[in-house]
Symmetry: C2
Subunit: 122 residues, 2 copies
């Protein structure tokens, strides 16, 4: 049962202390406390990994919070579960759009690249 200090976690994920505390402020993380010190569990780590991935994909932290909160409490309420499922579907669609975007942009970059690697005599 490992527990990490805030600096450990920050280093591991290459974020600042401020970021971790901020994420806690907005309800994304809820580490234990030993006295006043934060202690991050393995689950907290996994959660942070997920958060950072979503963030890299441009997902607003507010929406992410809603999603995680829903996930945390959905069992108690079938209506909430329904809401969660809809959110998941929306996210999926956005992600598929992003896959398209990536493919398209990669295509264009390749085009640029070719254009400059061997300059045309047009």
């Amino acid at each position: 049962m490992e527990r990490h200090t805030i600096t450990d976690l920050a280093r591991a994920f290459d974020v600042t202390l401020r970021t971790l505390r901020f994420y806690e402020d907005i309800g994304l993380l809820k580490p234990e406390r030993r006295g006043t010190m934060r202690l991050y569990s393995k689950q907290d780590k996994a959660r942070l990994r997920f958060i950072l991935r979503c963030k890299r994909l441009g997902m607003p932290l507010g929406e992410l919070r809603a999603l995680l909160e829903l996930h945390d409490t959905a069992r108690q309420d079938p209506q909430q579960t329904q809401a969660l499922l809809e959110k998941l579907r929306a996210r999926r669609i956005a992600l598929e759009q992003q896959q398209e975007d990536i493919a398209a942009v990669l295509g264009e970059l390749r085009f640029f690249d070719e254009q400059y690697r061997r300059p045309r005599k047009t």
Copy 2:
């Protein structure tokens, strides 16, 4: 040779007028002028499409501007060309990272989904 007004373009790409003017302010777009009015060419359209894709992928507009500017002027200077190629490589790596992220997040979402669609009797 189609030329579009700002409202046309805004509707076509589902952005606001403010956005298009803002993009011009920061040097992403440079539409022609007929008098004081902006007229967007087919190239401007393609450029905007590219811009919006990159934006959806979380690319900062400043970086995007640098990339496009480099692309616009690289022919004149082999050093600039080199710089462009490096930017492209960096972008590519970021995009590959995003592909990984998407795969991972989609995986997690699927996990959530299954978890809630048919609740376990654990």
